[in-house]
Amino acid sequence: MHHDHGIHLRAVCKTFRGRGADVEALRDMNLDCAPGSFTALIGPSGCGKSTAMRIALGLEDYDSGDVRIAGQPPAAATAAGVTGVAFQDAALLPWRTVARNIALPLEVLGRDPAKYGHEIAKLIELVGLKGYENSLPGQLSGGMRQRVSIARSLITGPEVLFMDEPFGALDQIRRRQMNVELQRIWLESESTALLVTHGIDEAVFLADYVVVMHANPGRVIDIIEIPFERPRRNELYSAPEFHALCDKVAMVLHGE
């Protein structure tokens, strides 16, 4: 099963050794995201969600366990351009235009951005920023910047997509709009997606599986399957089944 384009964390442990206190961020963390599935990772703040994702991206070492991204170790997978990533903050380079920000991963991977002109234009259209190709991040609103970062995460045509609270900085209304758009984009890309979030409704709306974590030490408590049909629409937010599942996630989350 190690040769699919899924995400697999097996018994991963990670302790931050700082000055003074050590923080056990993850203990025996297990996570399996099947190829083409959408998984939401949810938990109280500080439970190790970001750490798990950073380990999967090769941004952080881990003490023990095994990590496979599309069948490869994290460093190999990211260097091969298999992954895409969007962080909580858009993290755009302020001196680059929208188009050139989207091209950044290509430059890092040593690909020629000039050959991707068509893809970049298509992604800009996909995230609804047509006409803003040559704007600087400082000229965009928070939501628009976040969409640039989503477009950037898709430019390499990733088989595995990581998102760490990509809409954390947006208000509730914009967030719901973005959730609908994200679902549409992801459905077209056919990638494996891992979304870190602390919004229960967001997790239930978007995911096939909601993985709930607890803190101290960070670990997976439960996995809840979300059976709703796709594409899911805004009406779902007011459906009773939706609320029932949200309540279930909340109960697990709060340890009942």
Binding site: G18, R19, R54, L57, G58, L59, A75, T78, A79, A80, G81, T83, V85, F87, D89, A90, A91, L92, L93, P94, W95, L104, P105, E107, V108, L109, L136, P137, G138, G142, R145, R152, T156, F162, A169
Partner: protein
Amino acid sequence: MANRARFLRTATARNLLILVLVWELVGRMDWIAGGALPGLSEILIRLWVDRGDYPSHIWATVHASILGFLIGNAVAVGAGVLFVLFPTLLRLTRGFNIAVFALPPIAIAPILVLTLSGMAPRITLAALGVYFVTMSATVVGLSQFDSRAADVVRAYGGKDWQVMRLVRLRGAVPDILSGLRIAAPNAVLGAILAEFGGGGRWGLGTYLLGSLGRGEPARLWGIGLVATLIAGLSYLVFAIISARTLGSTRSVTLNTAIPDAGGGTPGPLPVRLAIFAGAALLPFVLWWAFIRLSGVPDLIAKTPLGVVEYLFLSDTSHIARGKLLSALAETLPITAIGMIAGLGFAFLLAISARMFPGFIKTFMPVALVTQTMPLVALTPLLVLMLGRGTSVTLWITISVTFFPAFVLLVQGIQRVPQTVLDLPRAYGASAWKELRMVSIPAALPYLFAATRLTVPRALLGVMIAEWLATGTGLGNLLNQSRGYLDYGMIWTVAAVSVCLSVAFYYAILLIERRTLTRLGMQTVE
């Protein structure tokens, strides 16, 4: 808000006009030191009369400044990048960097003239003047990059050099530019001071010195005005460029990520000791290597060992030591008194800023302008006005410490949020109590920073005054030794003044750390 700004601007313009008128009146009436301060119109007329002389002098100074500026900054930016990539290198070169920062340029001008030829001494001194400022600005700029953007690059397998190229270098541009802004007048100052040190027929410094003995105040003032204008213009150019680039570089949101704590792991004790020893030795090794490479004969160029021999091992050592010690006994007290007076005055004025906001607002632009003036290069003007006694030394020291300290302190206090300043008042505290509880503690870290910053300047100011005017102390010893071709003494004075400057710097740093740690405050750079 716009109204206020306009009011301020008209107020500043009005004060400037009053200043010029008073200047003109005082100058015309020859009220100061029998005409040592001519009226502005007299200076301008003299400038016009001398207009044939200026182009060659200006060109010589500007030429050396520009070359020194380019070379010094290229080295500084390169060094900054290396230091950030290899922090150990930064620790290893700490002694060298501090020495470059703290060295009084006038002290090494003679040895540069001895070992190098043609324009090289001026270019070197100009380059040394810009190196430290730009290097620190580069290191700060490269260190304060957006870690989230770096994560994006690393998340695609990007290596350190890719993060450097794609995120850090461009992000450091505003910091480097603001470094260049401060460095530019330094280059002009360095070139002029090297001209004081001798060699060459052309240059504003040469012109200034040559005119000092001729008793032509209007010409001296004209030269001072031109030198100030050149330095000010160089500052302005980079101020404009940096204002233009700033907008597109600032991160649009606040980075809330935990800063990387593992940044500079010092390693085990033996390694730390080795690095420390290396840092202390490196300046001397470079000194030695510089002499070996320049190929100047041993008689003229002294290595560190040569200086030790001169001071302690030769037959005439006791005479040399005696001269040096009596010069130090003259120089150090006056430097200390001048610094304390300048800093104290700046401190008092800055903390009382809250009580006389109007005065500060009109005075601040004047203080800021002096920041770009090659103050110490204008020493001949003060000599002209105050004569050749000790008072001129004192005034020079006070003026070169007062202005930078005042600007730093006022800007420091301005960083305290208004709400914090208002809090004591809201509880009915008296003005004095408010001063004691808020303004003074807020200004303290900046007072220390200002002290560190002004030690080398104070020493430089005193030495120049001694060299040009009073005929006492280290500056005079240096000048005399040039006349007597006493090479050992020239090198000794240079080495001793640099070492003293560095020692003072560290002494203040130590006191600063102790005091601020006890008060639970942070040092400022």
